[in-house]
């Protein structure tokens, strides 16, 4: 089971013992959690669509990061490091049969209507607000139907607003592969968006 980022160097035990006392940005776990917990949690929530699983894996992400803090070389940001761990954990989690079983009936599954209703209040008519909620629901549902990689890359780009090179670092994929998945995901969303505009009745099926 791959739990840690792939490009983390492993050191001989002697070297590790020498570097064990090196101060790292992750030593202050309280501050790191306070700063990055919302981000990690929302990424996992949008990836898994399961609140309990998202919380469990968020905790696991920070524990793993703290346990491996001596290997954090600061060649990427803490956020990138944490998201990478979270993505690996989510990948492992979704590949288990237990996840697939509970996914069907879990009470902690995210309700799309709840997500759409969480949209911050905006000025405008009730109708425009309803249209906005329908757009959110449409994209949320479409993202859920994407492949695992497309979904992860789409969320990293449009939820976490990461740059393409950072997404490549997080996913461990080449830039061209990242862009390919991103473009395909956007193509699916655009197609769905346009078809909904042409045929508004299809919104009712969401």
């Amino acid at each position: 089971m791959q739990l840690m980022p792939e490009n983390i160097q492993t050191f001989p035990s002697t070297t590790l013992s020498l570097t064990a006392q090196r101060a790292t940005p992750l030593d202050d776990l309280e501050s790191v959690v306070a700063l990055y917990q919302p981000r990690v949690f929302r990424f996992l929530l949008a990836t898994l669509h399961d609140r309990d699983a998202a919380e469990t894996l968020t905790q696991e992400t920070f524990l793993r990061a703290w346990a491996a803090r001596d290997r954090f070389r600061e060649d990427c940001s803490i956020a990138t490091w944490l998201i990478r761990i979270a993505l690996n954990l989510a990948r492992d989690h979704t590949r288990t049969g237990r996840f697939r079983f509970w996914k069907r009936s879990s009470i902690s599954n995210v309700d799309v209507a709840e997500v759409a209703a969480s949209l911050p209040s905006r000025e405008g008519s009730v109708e425009s607000r309803l249209i906005a909620q329908q757009q959110v629901a449409l994209i949320w549902e479409t993202v859920a139907g994407l492949s695992e990689r497309q979904r992860a890359i789409f969320l990293l780009r449009f939820l976490e607003e990461m740059d393409i090179p950072d997404i490549a670092t997080v996913t461990g994929l080449p830039l061209s592969t990242v862009k390919s998945h991103l473009y395909r995901a956007l193509g699916v969303i655009r197609t769905r968006h346009n078809s909904t505009l042409r045929n508004p009745a299809s919104k009712e099926t969401l």
Binding site: V33, R42, L119, Q133, L138, Y183, L186, G187
Partner: protein, 226 residues
Amino acid sequence: MTPQPVLEPRIAGDIRLGNTYPGIAHLTTHLTAEQMTELLAGPAGAAEAGDLRRMRSPGQDGDAGSASASDPEQNAAFAEAHLLTCARCAAELAGLREGLSLFRQASIAYADSELRRRPQWTLPGRSILRPALEPAYWVAAAAMLLTALFPLQVLRQHGLGSPPAVATSLADHPAESQSDEALLADVNREVSASVPAPMQALADPTGDVSSVSVQTSPETSDPRKD
């Protein structure tokens, strides 16, 4: 008569290529799906759009070779210029961007509200969290240990020095010493006497009766007690 160029749809649906004929693109055609996704993906995606085109298989979206030879920056410039003149493409792009923005806002708001509803985590103690401060914790622990042991050491020292202190106090008070010696002498005299004082009456049965009655106490009147 010069033949006119034929502008045919190059992709499925009603969206036609815009950059195949750069000079008239903004007049007659719309952005391709690829151009639209490039614009959606943002500058990081559009900057290296040429790499993606070369990577994608020919025939996909029906626009093979149409833009592979063009400069990505030039292509992006054409797309931006097209958006200025084509309300349809501009509206579609704006709608998609709006939807993506709403998706992000709603996801963040929902996740934050969900996080607030959940109990806070209990993190490990700071002694575990801050290994850099471990020496300070060791010093504090040593200080606490010394503080606990100091009273014991004082008591121990006090206990060992007590006999000399008693001897000194006796030497410093000769009057008390003399009285104690007198008391001891009385005790010795009483012990060395042949008949103890309470039994003097029994020792001389022919003695004065009155004296016997005077010395008799309720405790000694009962012969069974003797």
